[in-house]
């Protein structure tokens, strides 16, 4: 099914040999766009699926916001769709499913597929000068393993008792015993299987990315000439390789606790809803905390899997649109490595309130606060890049700068809540919700938008509309802050997360207007994305036609045609210099392409 051009077998041909192909095998529609082995098509597939799931996850968030502003009342439009049985109002059980599935969808089927799946696939071969991934068929398989994962996770809604409702963290025994909550009757099993498929998909991708970056760089592309996007994707892939299998192992243990009634995470003499799990035939004596350790051993690094590629994208975009070399390239590389390394030894900061030896708490706290150092190096380097630059306020640049500013807010609150005494007080309040949404929505999502606006011309040969793009950015930026900044206030007032009707407690009555403000802002934020959707599809067909290098950027992907054909580059290239050769005002040409043509 693949033409000769993509399948370079191991050991075939001496390094640096060049074969020129003139023959083109005609591929049919299915080979070209559905079961494609071309990294660019797979990248775009990941992007489209990720964006569709973004809408799904967003709708779940809208339902959550409806409930928090007007609990128990009929929800217009969505209510009929989601929950027709109870008069279109959200039941507490269903609310629990909503936030569980919102988190799961957004993390595993939106952010990770968009960053590592879409940008990883699309950009890695292009930016290092390779014709494709090291293993194109494995790459295709990676995409097609995510699809059943996604379907299984969504099928969770059809299960008896409704969708998984133990939170995206799936703490046992809530998640393992059917009597503990409705979502644990059947939904949780679908949830676990969906997660496992998406994990296998990520693992295949990660093996492929690391091999491609190690083995397939163009002549002259030394490690320290790689764009920061590639460094970020490489480090994120290494994180996936070493952290993800632990979650897979833990998920299998939870699955066996649910299906075979083993007792990994079920303590002795546990009675929930009048059911003693041992008397009901389950093994016991296990440790619920064990799951939390295993889960966060993956899921804390996962936070960096979600933010490091965003940092890489933003670094590249800022350098291009500021027309300046990135400030401190090597510190950027080392700081990303440090963030990833420290990311492995800080998982316990999610568990301060779960109970642990104070010495352990102290260790996790100090390690966590240390992450502020490399993060601050990055922030100052972005600011240093912007300082005195000839900033072009294009849509990608606005979004990239949006990323930096939001990451600062999310990062600072992270340092503060890493302190054990603070964390124990604010644990499970809306402060935490505000914090991680600043990092994942304010951070990763803005970087994803920046990346889409920036590389769209490469993907489709057409520019996205700048005016619509700016309108989209401004509204998104304002409403994002209206939604998530205010959540800090809710958290300080003590409002707990994951509560279907907080107003059942009289102390929270005064927070209702603020919650309504947040919800209205959230609906506006959701509705505002119509500007992006219209822009995206309109520009795909009718956008302004652009050439190889519309942004006058230096990196290798801009050497190839837009969109690049099969095999990516239409002439032989050699990398001559680093990725950020944006010159000063002293020379006429303000940038030097990283690669030069060497075949005449």
């Amino acid at each position: 099914m693949s033409s000769t051009a993509t399948t370079i077998q191991p050991g075939e041909g001496a390094p640096g040999t060049v074969h020129v192909h003139h023959d083109h095998h005609e591929l049919n529609f299915v080979q070209k766009y559905v079961f494609s082995v071309d990294h660019k098509v797979i990248g775009i597939q990941f992007m489209l699926v990720g964006l569709v799931m973004f809408v799904v996850g967003g709708l779940l968030a809208m339902a959550i916001r409806w409930q928090l502003a007007w609990p128990g009342t009929e929800m217009p439009v969505l209510g009929q769709l989601l929950y027709p049985e109870t008069g279109k109002a959200i039941s507490p059980e269903f609310y629990t499913s909503l936030f569980t599935m919102h988190g799961t969808v957004m993390i595993f089927f939106v952010i990770i597929p968009l960053l590592t799946g879409a940008f990883g696939n699309y950009l890695i071969p292009l930016m290092i000068g390779a014709p494709d991934m090291a293993f194109p068929k494995l790459n295709m398989l990676g995409f097609w393993f995510m699809i059943p994962g996604l379907i299984l996770a969504c099928m969770s809604f059809t299960a008896e008792g409704g969708a998984a409702s133990s939170g995206w963290t799936a703490y046992p025994p809530l998640s393992t015993l059917a009597q503990s909550n409705p979502g644990s009757r059947g939904g949780q099993t679908f949830w676990l299987m969906g997660l496992t498929f998406s994990g296998v998909s990520s693992m295949m991708g990660a093996v492929n990315y690391v091999t491609t970056i190690a083995k397939m760089r163009a002549p002259g592309m030394t490690l320290m000439r790689m764009p920061l996007t590639i460094w970020a994707l490489l480090i994120a892939a290494i994180l996936q390789l070493f952290a993800l299998p632990v979650l897979t192992a833990a998920s299998f243990m939870q699955l066996s606790d649910r299906v075979l009634h083993t007792g990994f995470f079920t303590p002795t003499n546990l009675v929930i809803n009048q059911v003693n799990s041992e008397a009901a035939g389950a093994a016991a004596g296990g440790q619920p905390l064990l799951w939390q350790h295993l889960f966060w051993f993956y899921s804390h690094p996962a936070v960096y899997i979600m933010v490091l590629p965003a940092m890489g994208l933003a670094s590249d975009i800022i350098a291009v649109h500021a027309r300046k070399p990135i400030f401190g390239y090597k510190p950027m590389v080392y700081s990303m490595s440090a963030i990833a390394g420290l990311g492995f030894i800080v998982w316990g900061h999610h568990m301060f309130a779960s109970g642990m030896n104070p010495a352990m708490g102290m260790t996790f706290m100090v390690a966590t606060i240390m992450i502020a150092l490399p993060s601050a190096v990055k922030v100052f380097n972005w600011l240093g890049t912007l300082w005195g630059a000839r900033i072009q306020l294009t849509t990608p640049m606005l979004n990239a700068v949006g990323f930096v500013s939001m990451f600062i807010i999310g990062g600072l609150s992270g340092i503060w809540m890493a302190a054990t005494p603070v964390d124990i007080y604010i644990h499970d309040t809306y402060i935490v919700v505000a914090h991680f949404h600043y990092v994942v929505f304010g951070g990763s999502v803005f970087a994803i938008f920046a990346g889409i606006y920036h590389w769209f011309p490469k993907m489709f040969g057409r520019l996205m509309n700048e005016t619509l793009g700016k309108i989209h950015f401004v509204g998104t930026f304002v409403f994002t802050n209206c939604v998530f900044y205010m959540m800090h206030q809710l958290g300080l007032a003590g409002l707990m997360r994951r509560t279907a009707d907080p107003y059942a407690y009289e102390v929270f009555h005064h927070l209702k207007p603020l919650n309504q403000f947040i919800s209205i802002s959230a609906f506006c934020l959701f509705a505002w994305q119509i500007f992006f959707v219209v822009n995206f599809f309109h520009s795909m067909f009718w956008g302004k036609r652009v050439g190889r290098n519309p942004w006058r950027a230096t990196t290798l992907e801009w050497t190839a045609p837009s969109p690049p054909g099969h095999g990516n580059f239409d002439y032989q290239i050699e990398v001559k210099r680093g990725p950020y050769e944006y010159a000063s005002a002293e020379v006429d040409e303000d940038f030097h392409m990283q690669a030069e043509r060497v075949d005449g």
Partner: protein, 209 residues
């Protein structure tokens, strides 16, 4: 200051009709497939670390953990362990045969590897049936919970390995004895040795300790 966005210029921007395909090799002096299989084995190491780590935590946290000798047929599994280690030796000879382009040697030793691997899985399935027959089900207590999940995942890995090696054996009945075949067999061999190594660990901590 120049215009922010460069317009389309057919002279430079139109794609050329031919494209060179590069076979670069920028990385460490090791075959691409071998590099990837080592990465994959690293993920496998982390997977089994998760399982074994959970086992150790649970076992240390349980006041009275039964001695495995009272519950498991250690002699049978010790013999089975020997068979699996022997199969690793056969694998080495098989890879050697592939590298010497010696079809007879490859088929003989790879065939023996498949046979011993299949033997190992069969004995394990037999052991499972015996245990289940005597009422030692996974939900009886934590000993059996951990036993079935750990040995089950290892057994699945062996079964996948047997299938993989058997397909390679079938493929080796005909076709060119070349570098690519030798490499494919070597890669499967790496996986096979890894699976054996994990078993030595599992046997020690589950059956002996």
């Amino acid at each position: 200051m120049t215009e922010a966005i460069t317009a389309y210029d057919p002279a430079v921007d139109a794609p050329a009709h031919h494209h060179p395909v590069y076979d670069y090799d920028s990385g460490p002096p090791v075959n691409r497939g071998k590099f990837a299989i080592w990465l994959f084995l690293a993920t496998e190491v982390m997977f089994f670390t998760g399982l074994i780590g959970a086992y150790l935590v649970i076992r240390m946290g349980t006041p009275a953990w039964p001695h495995p000798g009272e519950r498991l047929a250690v002699d049978l599994t010790a013999f089975n362990t020997f068979v699996l280690i022997w199969s690793s030796f056969c694998m080495v000879k098989g890879v050697e045969g592939a590298q010497q382009r010696d079809r007879g040697k490859l088929l003989k030793w790879l065939g023996l590897t498949v046979f011993f691997g299949a033997f190992f899985v069969s004995v394990q399935v037999f052991e499972y049936f015996q245990l289940l027959h005597h009422g030692s089900v996974p939900n009886l207590d934590l000993f059996w919970s951990t036993f079935y999940v750990m040995t089950g995942f290892h057994g699945t890995h062996v079964a996948v390995g047997v299938l993989w090696l058997f397909l390679l054996w079938l493929g080796s009945l005909r076709g060119e004895m070349d570098e690519r075949r030798a490499m494919r067999i070597e890669l499967a061999g790496l996986y096979w040795h890894f699976v054996d190594l994990v078993w030595v660990l599992l046997f020690t901590i589950v059956y002996l300790m």
